[in-house]
């Protein structure tokens, strides 16, 4: 089967910033995304897992698959949005079947 190379951008970010990140993804040319609304883990801000009462310690995982130029824009535009917020951005190579969807 014919497969097409794409980039997968994953952004783990605190809940309060998600809306801004998603708007940025679309304005950078991303055609879609997947959101995992609650993830927990440990990083340079300590353990982040609390999802009760307020959302301050909740992390969200966002996954975007896009062409390379769009992926670069998303990674670049994410940086100013993550200043002072908990966030991780990383990119990997993936292959997709339906080229026109991404």
């Amino acid at each position: 089967m014919q497969m097409y190379p794409k980039k997968k951008i994953e952004i783990v970010v605190e809940a309060v910033r998600v809306q801004r990140i998603l708007e940025m993804i679309e304005s950078s040319g991303g055609k879609g995304f997947t959101v995992i609304p609650q993830v927990s883990g440990k990083g340079n801000r300590g353990v982040r897992n609390e999802a009760h009462v307020n959302d301050v310690f909740r992390n969200v995982h966002i996954i975007v698959i896009a062409a390379e130029d769009v992926a670069k824009r998303i990674v670049q535009n994410a940086q100013p949005l993550l200043k002072d917020y908990a966030g991780i951005v990383y990119v990997s190579d993936v292959q997709v079947v339906r080229d026109q969807h991404f």
Partner: protein, 338 residues
């Protein structure tokens, strides 16, 4: 000459004892203990959030219905104005104390003090349940004060944090972004509280006929379940305070006492009842851990949420629930007279 209306020491101690052994405080303690022992006890998140909504809906609605029985009075308007002023002033006091006694920077000191100017709905709910247990009534419009006191402190906190910014002085940037305004005024808890209050006010006894079975009778029982969860959360947060240092931790204990004194003084000057003054003290003493953290995370991201949520939820909330409420009530009884 001794004032004949002063409550005896015995009755004050009995009130504190009743509170300590009330199911509300005991369930909170159970949750706290289970959390400290790292038990796997958990209240599912959906239930916990649902209970929080229920408590706010019930408090708001009952306040609205009560108010529908009264007409608007001068003392009520004065109370509303005082509540807003108290919420604006407390952050300035807290900020000053934090900057003088700790090494916290401006954003952290401002963010923490904003939490203390705002209120904790659950502490208020526990205080109304405590008063009900003691057979003490209070002015129904106090519930409206609570709704009003949620947000002015956020304004104060942001002004304290940003007053030195040049762009702000020149009018170059706005204190509140659209995002912050949405967090503050369209926050779910503000909407449900004010909305149910208005619905209660509009429908009055007719509404209570329909909702009474839901918002009256089960209230204290459901509050107990919610407090079990709060105990678990508070213990989680409490363990984060070990690195804080003595001066910051003690702020979590003495700041509610300062707030309560201001609240009691306001109650006295306004001529509120003992119950009303107790609640005014509880409002001024409590610290927000729902609305304000969310707003501060958006508006003041340089401040570390580990500081403000830990102080408000891990220290001040348990303090008010266990010791503060009966203490403020005892002082109100002596100070206001029953």
């Amino acid at each position: 000459m001794k004032n004949a209306e002063w409550p005896s020491v015995n009755s004050v101690i009995a009130g504190a004892y009743d509170n300590l052994l009330s199911p509300m405080v005991l369930f909170f303690a159970l949750g706290f203990l289970a959390g400290r022992l790292q038990s796997d006890l958990k209240i599912p998140e959906g239930i916990s959030k649902g209970l929080a909504l229920y408590l706010m809906l019930a408090i708001g609605f009952r306040g609205g219905v009560e108010l529908s029985h009264n007409s608007i009075s001068g003392i009520m308007l004065m109370s509303l104005i005082s509540a807003i002023l108290i919420s604006l002033i407390i952050p300035a006091i807290g900020y000053f104390l934090l900057r003088k006694t700790t090494s916290l920077d401006i954003p952290n000191a401002a963010a923490i003090s904003a939490h203390y100017g705002s209120v904790s709905v659950v502490t208020f709910a526990a205080a109304t349940a405590f008063l009900k247990g003691q057979g003490v009534s209070f002015e129904p419009y106090i519930i409206a004060l609570m709704a009003l006191m949620e947000t002015p402190a956020i304004v104060s906190g942001l002004l304290l944090a940003r007053r030195r910014e040049k762009s702000l002085q020149k009018g170059g940037s706005h204190l509140f972004s659209r995002e912050v305004l949405r967090e503050v005024f369209l926050s779910g808890s503000v909407i449900i509280l004010l909305g149910s209050f208005v619905i209660g006010l509009l429908t009055g006894d007719r509404g209570m006929d329909i909702l009474g079975a839901v918002v009256e009778r089960p209230f204290r029982g459901l509050l107990c379940i919610f407090l079990l969860d709060m105990g678990l959360l508070a213990s989680q947060r409490f363990s984060g305070s070990e690195r804080f240092g003595f001066r910051l931790i003690s702020f979590g204990f003495y700041m509610p006492l300062i707030g309560a004194s201001i609240g009691l003084l306001a109650g006295k000057l306004l001529g509120l009842s003992v119950g009303g003054s107790t609640l005014m003290a509880v409002l001024a003493a409590s610290a927000s851990y729902i609305v304000v953290p969310a707003a501060m995370r958006v508006a003041l991201p340089q401040a570390n949420p580990a500081f403000y949520v830990t102080l408000a939820l891990g220290i001040t909330f348990p303090f008010n629930l266990v010791l503060g409420i009966p203490l403020y009530h005892a002082i109100a009884r002596m100070f206001i007279g029953s």
